[in-house]
């Protein structure tokens, strides 16, 4: 019931704001959970949404933080800081995210104050905020947190250091890379991947490749890849048979960033590995490089027996602008696995051009994909409009209304013009399907076109449909 009412309020748009806010004030947690996503972006809503930050249901509190972020009022920042000690982690995450997206004049002061709190959770959240904004005044608290016995607090400080522009930040990271705690060394390796390339950083990361802890080796590998440190390629390849699975994968991931011939051939070898994760990482890496010689490997992997591998290969194939791409994606749209099928439609949906539009139209016959395909056709990409109009010329009674629905959902002037144009097209099925959509435009020009068609169209069904909508 609450959901149905919320749906109706949503249809009303801005007119419903007053009712929604009143319901937020008076409603229980369930109603608030349904209504918060419907709150419009108006400053007047902020006090009522802020009161939801105190709701007894954690998902409502998290949603309230999310809504405040969406409204965009910095006045909510102090209240959001209070939620950084919420007992529910989701609320803390949402509050941090909202504070980061809102920013404000008071954020720096509040964050620095929170970073000195005796409450470790609050300090950790505050460090993330300081890091996000890169407050230079935050360096001291980050350095202090790095000396804290709490490992997770040290982690938070380490992740923040690359975002502070101060040479002392890099010095501290290099020190952390030698810390006795494996977790701290791993965090330092990961953070070094976010810095600028420097000889002392590279040599620290190279040392990390030989660390006894697999996660330190994992992040060292990853960081060298991110820094595109091609000189480290041989040292990285040497870990290809590491005992730890995550390190073997990180090797492949790192090589994907390096565009040397040896890295590419190592990637091609990894694409045939018996380890599914190594194989998938290699396929992703080959996709990133978009080299023509990798495409046959990817197309072959798109026929793998393992659905997750097919999906990964397909996402790599989708990166290519090659003649083989669209047929491969279209073929995958008929895959037996619903994840692969759905991803294939998603990849075709984002491709511009008439051929991609035609490919989507050809999928309308699949009932399981129909709604997704119509949404994809409604994306206003280059080639959509001419593709849809051409398809409408030959569409049958089932397909034509779907194509018209896609045109109507575009909500663009050229799509509206195309709908009007459709009313005078050669296809009776297209004209019949266009009638309700043209009527929904609600313009004088649309009404005149419908009146004309109601008298002059050669198809009696079109004339009848026009008279019906005109009589309403």
């Amino acid at each position: 019931m609450a959901r149905a009412a919320a749906g109706a309020l949503s249809e009303l748009g801005a007119d419903a704001d007053t009712q929604i806010l009143q319901a937020l004030r008076e409603g229980d947690s369930l109603r608030r959970r349904v209504l918060l996503p419907l709150v419009g972006r108006r400053a007047a809503a902020v006090p009522d949404v802020m009161s939801c930050l105190e709701d007894r249901d954690a998902s409502v509190r998290a949603l309230a933080a999310d809504t405040l972020s969406r409204i965009g009022s910095p006045a909510a920042v102090p209240a959001l800081f209070e939620r950084l000690v919420d007992e529910d982690l989701r609320v803390v995450q949402a509050a941090v995210g909202a504070i980061q997206s809102l920013g404000s004049d008071t954020t720096e002061k509040l964050a620095l104050q929170a970073a000195r709190s005796p409450d470790v959770r609050l300090r950790r959240a505050a460090l993330r905020i300081i890091s996000y904004f890169g407050y230079s005044k935050g360096l001291e608290v980050l350095l202090q947190a790095m000396r804290d016995p709490d490992e997770r607090l040290r982690d938070a400080a380490i992740y923040g250091l690359p975002f502070i522009e101060d040479p002392r930040a890099v010095d501290a990271l290099l020190t952390a890379a030698n810390h006795e705690s494996e977790r701290t060394r791993a965090a330092a390796m990961r953070a070094l991947g976010q810095t600028e390339k420097e000889a002392r950083i590279t040599s620290t990361l190279l040392r990390g490749l030989n660390d006894r802890d697999p996660w330190v080796r994992y992040y060292a590998c990853q960081a060298l890849g991110k820094l595109n440190e091609e000189a480290a390629a041989d040292a990285i390849v040497a870990l290809a048979d590491d005992a730890a699975g995550q390190v073997r994968v990180a090797v492949v991931d790192a090589l994907a960033h390096m565009h040397t011939e040896s890295a590419m051939s190592a990637l091609q070898r990894a694409a045939a590995s018996a380890d599914a994760d190594v194989r998938r990482a290699a396929l992703l890496g080959l996709g990133v490089g978009r080299r023509p010689d990798a495409l046959p490997v990817l197309l072959e992997a798109a026929k793998s027996e393992d659905a997750a591998t097919r999906l990964v290969a397909l996402s790599a194939v989708a990166e290519y602008e090659a003649p083989e791409t669209l047929p491969a994606l279209l073929h995958a749209a008929g895959d037996g696995d619903d994840s692969v099928r759905s991803a294939a439609v998603g990849f075709i949906a984002t491709r511009p051009g008439v051929p991609a539009t035609q490919a989507l139209v050809s999928l309308l016959g699949d009932m399981t994909l129909r709604e997704r395909v119509v949404s994809a056709l409604a994306l206003p990409l280059e080639g959509r409009l001419p593709g849809l109009l051409a398809a409408l010329e030959a569409a049958d009674e089932v397909t034509a209304p779907l194509l018209v629905a896609a045109l109507a959902r575009m909500r663009r002037a050229d799509a509206r013009a195309a709908l009007m144009q459709l009313l005078a097209s050669a296809s009776p099925a297209g004209r019949r399907a266009a009638v309700p959509a043209v009527a929904a435009l609600g313009t004088l020009e649309a009404r005149e076109a419908l009146e004309r068609a109601s008298n002059q169209d050669e198809d009696p069904e079109v004339r009848r449909a026009c008279r019906l909508v005109l009589s309403r």
């Binding site: 980061q100 999906l311 619903d338």
Partner: protein, 273 residues
């Protein structure tokens, strides 16, 4: 909301890992649902990438336990006493009591018992018929958390929503707002953690005169369900009965079991020797 992005690729490999471990299938439209469960765990474990977290679950020595905990949080534990009770009553009166009278000690397995309401309902029916001590009851679930609850005999008030008259006070009582089943009933059940997808674990349990596997197969893909039904069929003694939920059917799996109706209850029966 602040979150970690779950790409279709990461969703595919995570969902495959979860399905491999538990049999539970996630369709593409469940991506957000899965992300809601996984992201807080990944962040809590100190990962800021779900791919890194996946490698942790897959390769780290602590990953297996973390995967179990994740799967546990994904399982549906919704159940209640005397849910679809007719087949249990027919099983007890028409099959188990005659077996006991014939001098046998029948074995019954509740294969996905969650917090224990189903095997305890059967235990109550058997106790009422005076044969509880003569029937061996085994109850299992994949969720260690749910089993822990079951072993305590403590339940929530929602589990009483279909309770027939005469049960409360006799087989269970509510103290401080929490229903508690009598300890002798809880003690009559052998509680075990079993993964139904693991055929060798199922085989180790021996054979049963009846297996209850109700409202479980709906969470599996057909291939997984087919494999589970095969394992359960092997675990049935000749003329043993398999009970599935009223909304479930084994027809599409091409089972060798024969469908049989008794007083309005349906059983899948294994052929005799």
């Amino acid at each position: 909301m602040f979150s970690l992005p779950m790409s279709p690729q990461v969703f595919a490999i995570l969902a495959a890992l979860i399905e491999q471990r538990s049999g539970v299938h996630y369709a593409p439209e469940d991506r957000e649902l899965l992300a809601d469960k996984v992201v807080p765990r990944a962040l809590d474990a100190g990962f800021d990438s779900l791919l890194d977290y996946y490698y942790f679950l897959r390769y780290d020595p602590a990953g297996s336990e973390a995967l179990d905990a994740l799967v546990d949080s994904l399982l549906v534990h919704e159940t209640y006493f005397f849910r679809e009770a007719l087949p249990l009553r027919v099983l007890a009166e028409d099959l188990l009591v005659p077996a006991v009278r014939a001098g046998r000690r029948p074995r019954v397995w509740s294969a996905a018992c969650s917090t224990g309401e189903e095997p305890l309902t059967l235990a109550m029916i058997l106790a009422e018929l005076g044969v509880l001590d003569e029937v061996e009851l085994l109850a299992s679930d994949l969720s260690a958390r749910a089993l822990e609850r079951a072993r305590t005999g403590e339940h929530n008030l929602r589990s009483l929503r279909a309770l027939p008259p005469g049960v409360e006070g006799r087989w269970l009582e509510t103290r401080e707002g929490r229903p508690r089943v009598r300890p002798e009933l809880v003690g009559a059940v052998d509680w075990r953690r079993v993964n139904l997808v693991d055929a060798s674990a199922v085989a180790q349990l021996g054979t049963f005169d009846a297996i209850l596997c109700r409202n479980v197969l709906i969470y599996f893909q057909d291939d997984t369900a087919r494999g589970v039904v095969s394992s359960l069929t092997r675990a049935l003694a000749p003329e043993g009965r398999l009970l599935v939920g009223t909304s479930e059917s084994l027809m599409r799996f091409g089972t060798a079991l024969a469908c049989e109706e008794r007083r309005g209850a349906f059983f899948y029966t294994k052929a005799g020797p």
